[in-house]
């Protein structure tokens, strides 16, 4: 069995996150989009790069749902991606990376795999 260790990166305080929207987290050289889905009391994290035109923009997009699935729409061309699986919902084939999120003592952590 391969053991996967998760390294929890401290992203921000809960009150720094945007309610029902996203913020961008600097994580070393990487940019991660962190979404606080206040309405559902859920947190999601994905890559900040929209694969369509390769723009660092997903954190500035609108979140929402299609059926039960939570999603994010890129502000540039409104390509949408599932926040739970990263799958592109706008017919294209590019998926985005997703990360686990946990909240402890008012701090938000993003799970990175080593």
């Amino acid at each position: 069995m391969v053991e996967i260790t998760t390294n929890w990166f401290e992203a921000c305080r809960v009150e720094d996150a945007v309610q029902n929207g996203g913020v961008c987290v600097k994580c070393g050289e990487e940019q991660i989009a962190l979404f606080y889905f206040t309405r559902r009391n859920e947190w999601y994290a994905t890559q900040n790069l929209c694969p369509h035109r390769r723009q660092m923009a997903l954190s500035r997009g609108m979140i929402g749902s299609v059926g039960e699935d939570p999603k994010i729409a890129c502000p540039f061309h409104k390509k949408t991606f599932s926040l739970s699986t990263g799958e592109c919902l706008s017919g294209d084939e590019c998926a985005i990376q997703t990360y686990p999120v946990k909240v402890e003592d008012g701090l938000v952590y993003i799970g990175l795999q080593n």
Partner: protein, 825 residues
């Protein structure tokens, strides 16, 4: 491309084959149809037809940069250039074609290129750096594509030289060619037809072209695109039969003279024809794949109809474009004003459409092609097909679709029929174009059939008794107009409240901006108030226009286009300080591009301190009221158009609407402010003002119509109040005033009755509502910079607020910055 398609098709059908692919070029199969996009920013990877691991996933072994050198048919083996020997059960040749290079003296000089592969393009790109003028030899489809590529490389002058008397001689007639030439000339392309090239002059490198008629043309670079030559040398070498003028002979199963060897795509010669288009190539791939998997498919020739956008001009040719009397009759439409030419050829008895040509406007192409291919009986006035029905209610579009047989091919790229699309709606429950795309693959190729797919979907849903309601999205089973009333009645103040009270689910990128716009129109609260901020559209969210690369542009309001010199200085200083690109907009304002998100509040702090306010260029709101200088200076001016424009702009600034609003005031009938192209425009008359409404520029320009004449300034504003409130209340989402009026029953007469004669009895209420909005105006940017909670949102990184996005890159052009092209990381 065809070889790749074959791999896709056969791996979809069966796992029984072990597939080896040999390619001469160093990269995976790529999209040659859109090759010229390589010059406006697409990379080789963007053009690739598959991602890197695709071949692995499909268990296909790929050898790149290693062409097959020899086929040993007796032992059923091949030998590659790098020395590999493999045996085969079946061999598929998809060797394509190479550029045909005519035997002109000097053709080997430096600066002469062909246009075929990404490598060719790279050579051209490098050489063009030192070239000022360019020429393309060949005015066919590919030649014009190549000319577009040269234009994109910023050559000062680009020439197209065609031997035949017209452009695209295989697709269009001489009238069509003349129309196309006029359009291309306007785009900066010089066209020379009837020119035989006798030699290419120059010492080492090309300097000029000499023609048979004795004339000469100076040029620094020449791209030859004079046709294609099938790559049949490998087949020839092993004794497979080829045509006298090239091409590997195949039967209807795409089999060559050796039954275990097949040829597909541009290298294959079927029934004396080489098929140089992508759709027949894909069809050939399908035939071979199907037959190897025990199917039974034959290739029966292919319709060479085509529709494309050449350097921005629509060109289509379908069926038999050239047939003429006595075999048939033609209906011609020529509009040199708009640059439109249409020709349809019909049978002598007037019953059937045989073919035709469309230049400048090709919307009818899909329907016309279907009419030809399915031998659909023509309506009594076949000219309606290209002119649209004049008078009476037209049902042609829909009845045409309904009249198609089930096997009518709708998507020719993927070979999807009308029946399959209708079934996906009726049986599989697809009720969106995306769902149909996923289910049938229709519309995933060139995308040209998508409007038909959508119409078919709506048509089928209606037939199945499904009421197609004009609802916002899955979260609101309501129209925009219904939502407007509900928000008012229930006194709903933010997006979440609206969703909780009259919607369901969690919202989406369609309903959020729409509801936000309604809230702003009704209550005129600061749009970034908590609870509404993240429901705003991309630009409203940050009160600026997001641009390529992730920076923003800033447009301060300059009412009526009037600005004092000291304020111009401030704009210049701010732009310099924050390193912004500046450009005058079409609406008499100054746009500053390239601002980092975190600089926006700082920029606005300085602008507001100097007396500027938001220009709302980011909102679906009133943008600008353009004006001519008017009677204060102009010797023709009747009234002071600038003062009136400022009054109007200051009245309606920030007003949120279903779409953006533009206006203008002209001081006399010379109309220098172009008021008749605006949502509402005002022109001075001897006795007062004429008010025009519902015009717009954009992709479908439309002139505004006269609503009221010779009214005084206050009355004119009253009418505008009513007009705008009526529009805001009743228009569909993202509908500008022109299409709103087009859909209105009774048209301008009805509108005039409502606005001028108050036929609905709403005038008082609307005027009060408008006055409330006017009175509650605030500069959003002023509020934003004064509120630390809102200000905080303008940092790129939540955990490193002082750092800017390091991925933002700029290039330089004419001494200013410009956004780096898409897809640079």
């Amino acid at each position: 491309m065809v070889g790749h398609k074959f791999c896709e098709k056969i791996t979809d059908k069966s796992d029984n084959f072990r597939i080896f692919v040999f390619g001469e070029e160093p990269r995976r199969a790529y999209d040659r149809v859109h090759l010229s996009e390589y010059f406006n920013g697409k990379t080789a990877e963007d053009l690739s037809l598959s991602h890197e691991n695709w071949y692995n996933e499909k268990n296909i072994t790929l050898y790149l940069g290693d062409p097959v050198k020899e086929i040993d048919r007796d032992n059923k083996t091949i030998h590659s250039n790098k020395g590999l020997t493999l045996s085969y059960d079946y061999l598929v040749l998809a060797t394509g074609s190479s550029a045909f290079v005519p035997d002109i003296p000097g053709v080997d000089k430096e600066g002469v290129f062909v246009y075929r592969t990404i490598e060719d393009l790279e050579l051209i790109k490098n050489y063009a750096l030192n070239a000022k003028t360019g020429a393309v030899l060949g005015g066919g489809l590919l030649g014009l594509e190549a000319a577009k590529a040269l234009i994109d490389l910023n050559l000062e002058e680009t020439n197209v030289i065609e031997f035949a008397p017209r452009l695209m001689p295989r697709q269009i007639d001489s009238t069509g060619s003349l129309m196309l030439q006029t359009k291309l000339n306007a785009l900066g392309l010089a066209i020379h037809t009837n020119k035989g090239t006798s030699s290419i002059e120059g010492t080492d490198r090309i300097e000029s072209l000499k023609f048979n008629d004795g004339s000469e043309l100076k040029t620094d670079i020449l791209v030859i695109s004079a046709g294609i030559r099938p790559r049949d040398e490998l087949a020839k070498l092993c004794g497979i039969e080829v045509g006298t003028r090239g091409g590997i002979l195949v039967n209807e199963f795409m089999q060559t003279s050796d039954p275990s060897v097949f040829a597909i795509g541009e290298c294959a010669l079927f029934n004396h024809n080489i098929y140089g288009l992508i759709a027949p190539g894909y069809e050939m791939a399908e035939v071979v794949a199907a037959n190897l998997c025990d199917g039974n498919k034959t290739f029966n020739g292919f319709d060479m109809s085509t529709k494309l956008k050449l350097i921005g001009v629509d060109v289509a040719s379908f069926g038999d474009p050239f047939t003429s009397e006595p075999d048939s009759r033609s209906i011609l439409f020529e509009d040199t004003h708009k640059g439109i030419y249409k020709r349809i050829n019909i049978s002598n008895d007037g019953k059937y459409l045989l073919g035709g040509i469309l230049i400048g406007e090709a919307e009818a192409y899909n329907m016309l092609l279907q009419t030809v291919n399915n031998k659909i009986a023509l309506p009594p006035n076949p000219e309606d097909l290209i002119l649209g029905s004049r008078g009476g209610n037209s049902q042609t579009e829909n009845s045409g679709l309904a009249g198609l047989p089930d096997d009518a091919l709708i998507c020719s790229c993927e070979g999807v029929s009308k029946g399959q699309i209708c079934d996906s709606v009726s049986l599989e429950g697809c009720e969106s174009v995306d769902a149909i795309k996923k289910c049938t693959k229709a519309g995933t190729g060139c995308g040209g059939c998508i409007p038909m797919v959508k119409d078919l979907m709506l048509h089928t849903m209606k037939e199945n008794g499904k009421y197609v309601r004009n609802v916002v999205c899955e979260h609101f089973q309501l129209s925009r107009q219904e939502l407007y009333d509900l928000i008012k009645i229930h006194n709903l103040k933010n997006y979440e409240q609206v969703l909780d009270n009259v919607g369901k689910g969690d919202g989406c990128e369609i309903c959020k901006p729409l509801v936000s716009s309604l809230l702003a129109s009704i209550w005129n609260d600061m749009i970034l108030k908590r609870g509404n901020d993240t429901a705003q559209d991309s630009n409203d969210r940050f009160l600026a226009n997001i641009q390529k690369g992730g920076t923003y542009s800033v447009v301060p309001r300059i009412p009526g286009g009037e600005i004092k010199p000291d304020k111009l200085v401030i704009i210049g200083e701010v732009a310099e300080k924050y390193g912004l690109y500046t450009k005058i907009t079409g609406g008499q304002r100054i746009d500053m591009f390239g601002a980092h998100l975190s600089d926006l509040p700082l920029i606005w702090e300085e602008l507001i301190a100097a007396g500027f306010e938001s220009g709302h260029a980011y909102g679906k709101a009133l943008r600008t009221v353009k004006s001519c200088v008017g009677s204060t200076w102009c010797r023709f001016g009747l009234h002071d158009s600038v003062s009136y424009a400022i009054r109007i702009e200051e009245r309606y600034r920030g007003l949120r609407a279903p779409h953006k609003l533009k206006s203008a005031v002209s001081g006399c009938i010379r109309e220098c402010a172009e008021a008749q192209s605006k949502d509402f425009g005002i022109i001075a008359t001897e006795k007062g003002w004429n008010l025009y409404v519902c015009g717009n520029g954009g992709s479908k320009p439309q002139h505004a119509l006269l609503l009221a004449s010779d009214v005084d300034s206050d009355t004119c504003i009253k009418y505008i109040d009513r007009f705008l409130m009526f529009y805001i209340r009743t228009a569909d989402p993202l509908t500008r005033t022109a299409p709103w009026l087009n859909k209105m029953e009774g048209g301008i007469e009805y509108l005039r009755n409502v606005v001028v004669n108050d036929s609905l009895g709403m005038a008082d209420q609307w005027e009060i509502e408008m006055q409330n909005i006017v009175d509650s105006y605030q500069c959003e940017w002023k509020t934003a910079i004064e509120d630390p909670e809102i200000r905080k949102r303008f940092n790129h990184f939540v955990n490193a607020p002082t750092e800017k996005d390091p991925s933002i890159k700029f290039d330089e052009m004419r001494g200013q910055k410009k956004a780096a092209n898409w897809t640079t990381v």
